[in-house]
Symmetry: C2
């Protein structure tokens, strides 16, 4: 050893402390008209410049007005659009958006505003997560599904040929502004697709809420602002409660996947032609039926789910799908283990059934699926 | 309002709590022979399968042996190589690596082992940060620069045409295994490039350490294992101390940029032909000279830096570079503000000079740069 230090004087290993949380959490603000307050919420981030990211449809509907409101507040703001649709939620679009921001001269002191549905939130959120190793972003969901689902939990990401959301990051927004007023600009099937997720929130955790959705069904279907506002609030509360207990999805957060094992498989088999919420609605009915076959789910659950779905003009039974096909598609689900798909099952409305070993997903065999599917298909003539 | 809930019964906004830190920090283990313990360190992550990412050079040198050691320990392990060189630290390579992992069937329970220099750590770390929204990774640096610089701080990322490290994420490794024994397989200029960063650590924070480097210079140059081990430990300790105080680089962490404002500019002007450490070495001398011109840096600092650099066979003065060119290139640095480059300046060896307003970077005018450059060039004949 040369010099004044002996080897023993420094540690054999050096501990690097964890990085601190990058935020103190965030608020989802739900109020008719809150979109008018976008500029002060943006200014609160203290960023030097702002980039609104929207798909070309939303850009036309709300983009220019949003940019104008920020510019009037003295904020340097650009509006960047990308082609609408899940097919564009890719690394290629993500790369183009990052390059566009670099070309605009954006630095670490920029802030992104994700204005749009779930695709935009996931994609623009992933741009925010990775631009200069992370910049703040505001989320302004313009669909019901994005308001009650994608706005809570900090998940961002893109799809690849191998599947949905396989590349991404956890990156929480600074604030989420959910304005139920924009929902009345949505096509009916977009609104209904979101209602299916709200039904899921009631089904897994709050039987009273599910009963309220049924009662409020007609008002919800005609776009009643107060009813939609209540629905968004209660659904966000429920999802937030689950996410708070298991933020990185190691355990119980899986219950939010009720209806999704079958639902994702139906989406995949339809080549994503069926809207996500429609598929989840049917998935809940089939998974309730699976639970019945396994002796886990009470018999009235499936009937109640089917009744509420129909009331909201959502499909409540699968079309002509064969069990072997569906089983194979279910194996692509992230919850699958040892070549067996797994599903979240209810014991009763508002109660998820844990497994014997404390888990939240139950193994599904092809035989059980076939039986469940058969009774769902034949049952659909009567309920 | 329909149904049993009144609007007032749910909150007008819902607070989403922050996500918890994803790790409890990590250890940098520095010991000759520690590479032999890769398998137990990997197994400790509890992952279901492992992917070693290395460039094609390192893959040839160490890749197969590393894979064999993991497989012998019963761990399912793949080795994935990418073309060596900073030119491949891109989103395209990142995308190919992610796709390769998906094709291998890797899921959320995978673990990445980044085996190589700084490019590999940054690139494979970014793959780990974004694969299925983040999987654990082990860092096994095989260059001195990667051991003492990239292994501390959790920065991952890739370059774009607009600049270096512009896209990325903070994602800390599970553990860093730094084995000084592998350094003797390095080309001399790789080793010397790393020594320049170690000199920087002494220059900014530890005059005794800088004196030790000078004393141990001959041993370091011939690759003495114990001396290299000591150097890695002390440099990691110093960098870890700075990063712990300012993990997200909001303030004082900037002092690690000493020598880098000029250094990055020289790299850029050479089209990245000059090794990073060589450029930083020259950058430190020029920035010491800038500090002298501004009356901030003591006159002996530049001489000491030049002396140690020469002892370690590193260049200590810029080649024929014109001040206006260099000034323009310095403006591309992330620390630049209001069209003026900024540099970290020393008051004396081991002491960074704060600015009057408590900042850590000083504005540099083109005149000051020209004067500093002139005295560095002419001085280089004598010191």
């Amino acid at each position: 050893m040369t010099g004044q230090f002996a080897t023993g004087q420094v540690a054999a290993q050096v501990h690097i402390p964890p990085m601190p949380a990058r935020s103190a959490g965030y608020d989802v603000v739900i109020r008719a008209g809150v979109l008018d307050e976008l500029a002060p919420h943006a200014a609160a981030t203290g960023a030097a410049r702002y980039v609104i990211i929207a798909d070309d449809n939303v850009s036309r509907l709300f983009g220019e007005a949003a940019r104008a409101s920020l510019q009037q507040a003295g904020l340097v703001t650009d509006l960047v659009a990308f082609p609408a649709g899940e097919a564009h939620k890719t690394r290629e679009t993500w790369q183009r958006l990052g390059d566009r921001m670099l070309a605009l001269g954006c630095g670490r002191d920029s802030c992104i505003i994700a204005l749009g549905g779930g695709v935009t939130g996931d994609l623009a959120g992933f741009v925010a997560a990775t631009f200069m190793r992370g910049v703040p972003f505001l989320q302004v969901p313009t669909t019901l599904l994005a308001m009650i689902d994608a706005s809570v939990g900090g998940k961002t990401g893109v799809d690849t040929a191998a599947g949905k959301n396989l590349i991404g990051a956890f990156h929480a927004p600074t604030v989420v502004l959910a304005d139920p007023r924009v929902l009345n600009t949505l096509p009916s099937r977009e609104l209904r697709s979101g209602l299916a997720e709200a039904i899921k929130h009631g089904a897994i955790l709050d039987a009273e809420y599910l009963a309220w959705i049924e009662e409020a069904g007609p008002a919800l279907r005609r776009g009643d602002e107060a009813s939609l506002e209540h629905l968004v609030r209660r659904s966000v509360e429920i999802k937030a409660g689950v996410v708070a207990e298991d933020p990185l999805e190691h355990g119980r957060r899986a219950i939010l996947n009720f209806g999704h094992t079958v639902g994702h498989a139906l989406e995949q088999l339809s080549a994503y032609d069926i809207p996500h919420g429609f598929a989840v609605g049917i998935g809940m009915v089939v998974e309730a039926s699976i639970g019945e076959v396994l002796g886990i789910t009470a018999g009235d659950v499936r009937q109640q789910l089917a009744r509420v779905l129909r009331l909201l003009e959502l499909p409540a039974a699968p079309g002509a799908v064969l069990a072997p096909q569906l089983f194979q598609a279910m194996l692509l689900d992230k919850k699958a283990r040892r070549a067996r798909p797994r599903a979240v099952l209810l014991s009763a409305t508002g109660s998820v059934a844990p497994t014997n070993d404390g888990g939240w997903t139950h193994e599904v065999s092809e035989d059980v699926l076939a039986e469940a599917l058969h009774s769902t298909l034949s049952g659909s003539r009567f309920v």
